[in-house]
Symmetry: C2
Subunit: 163 residues, 2 copies
DNA sequence: CAATAATAGCTAAGTGCTTAGGTAAATGGC
DNA sequence: GCCATTTACCTAAGCACTTAGCTATTATTG
C-alpha cells in the first residue's frame, strides 16, 4: 500500500519537519500517473504507426465531423500547443498523405487542413485499440470512482488554468 | 460546469455513437490537468532561475539527507527518466556549480553526485515558493478530496505501470 | 482611405527528452 | 583466475516541443 510518492513524503518529513509537504502527495501522483499513462498510450499508437501528436490531430479532424476540415489555429487551441508545433505536426502528416493543406478562401492569411481518405482510415483503424487501452488503464476503477476522478481533475485543471 | 473535455466527448458521441468514449473523460482530464499544473509549477521554478528537471535533482539530493550524495542511477530511478537524461541534467547543474561529480570509491564505473552549498541554497530558497504554488493549485479541494484524488491517481498509475 | 496594428501561419534556432552506441569496471560461470 | 556478460555512465544523434522572428493578409482608427 505504500508507493514511491509515500517514500518521498517520508523523506521530506524526516529532513524538513518544518514544511507542510502534503500537497506533494497529490501533485506528485498527478505527474507520475500522467507520465505512466502517456507511456502506455504511446505503445498503442506506435503499434499503429502513429505517435500521440499525429493521432491527436487526426482524431480532432475526425470528431469534428464532415467535411473533416479545420484551421491550424483551431487545431492548436484544441491540442493546447503552439501554432508552430501544429505547423510541424502538419508537415509530418502532409508528407505521409494523411492530411492536406489548402488556402482558406475566407481568409488569405490562413489555410484549411483536411483529413484525406488515408488519414481517416488511419485514425479509424487506431481508435478502437486506443479506447481499449484507455479502458484497460481504468479497469480497476468503478464507474463512480471514474466520475469522481474526472471531476476532481477538472477542478485542479481550473485552478492551474483559470479563464 | 462544462469544460473542453465535455465538448470533445459530445463531438465523439455525435460522430461515432457506436463507440464507448467514456474513458476519455478521465484520461483526457488527466492529461490536461498535468499539463496545466506543470505549466504553473514551471513559472515558479523560472522565477527562481531553475527549471523543473534541475529542481527535481536538487530536491532529491536534499530530501535524502546529509551528506546529500547519490549516484546518477538513483537520481534516474527517482525521476523516472533515463540515465542519459540524468547525465545531461548533471552537466547543466555542474556547470552552474550547483552539484559536483566525484568518482565512486566503491565502484570504479560509477560516480557520486553531491549538492554544493550553492545548490543547497538554491533548492532551499525555491522550496517554500514551490510548496505555496502546489497549495494554490489544490486550494479548492478539501483535505478529504485531496486524499481521494491521490488514492485514485495511485491506482491509475499502478494500472499503467504494474511492477 | 491610408497608416497602423493585429492576426494566421510559417521557418529557424534552442531545449530537454529519448534511443543508440561507446568505454570501462564489476560480476559470475567454468 | 579468465572470459563473457552485465552494469554504470557518458556522448551523439534524433525528435517534438518552445520561443523568436518573418511574411502576408486582415482589421482598426483617425
Amino acid at each position: 500500500m505504500t508507493d514511491h510518492v509515500d517514500r518521498i513524503l517520508a523523506q521530506w518529513r524526516r529532513e524538513r519537519p518544518d514544511l507542510d509537504v502534503s500537497p506533494m502527495a497529490v501533485i506528485g501522483r498527478l505527474s507520475r500517473a500522467a507520465a505512466a499513462v502517456h507511456g502506455r498510450l504511446d505503445r498503442t499508437f506506435a503499434a499503429h504507426d502513429l505517435d500521440r501528436g499525429s493521432f491527436d490531430v487526426l482524431a480532432t479532424l475526425l470528431r469534428n465531423g464532415p467535411p473533416h476540415r479545420l484551421t491550424p489555429a483551431q487545431l492548436a487551441a484544441d491540442a493546447m500547443i503552439t501554432s508552430a508545433a501544429v505547423a510541424q505536426r502538419l508537415n509530418r502528416l502532409e508528407s505521409r498523405g494523411l492530411v492536406t493543406r489548402a488556402p482558406n478562401p475566407d481568409d488569405g492569411r490562413g489555410s484549411l487542413v483536411s483529413l484525406t481518405a488515408a488519414g481517416k482510415a488511419a485514425v479509424e483503424a487506431t481508435l478502437p485499440a486506443h479506447l481499449a487501452t484507455e479502458q484497460e488503464l481504468l479497469a480497476d476503477l468503478s464507474p463512480e470512482e471514474r466520475e469522481t476522478l474526472a471531476a476532481l481533475l477538472a477542478r485542479v485543471f481550473h485552478s492551474a488554468d483559470p479563464n
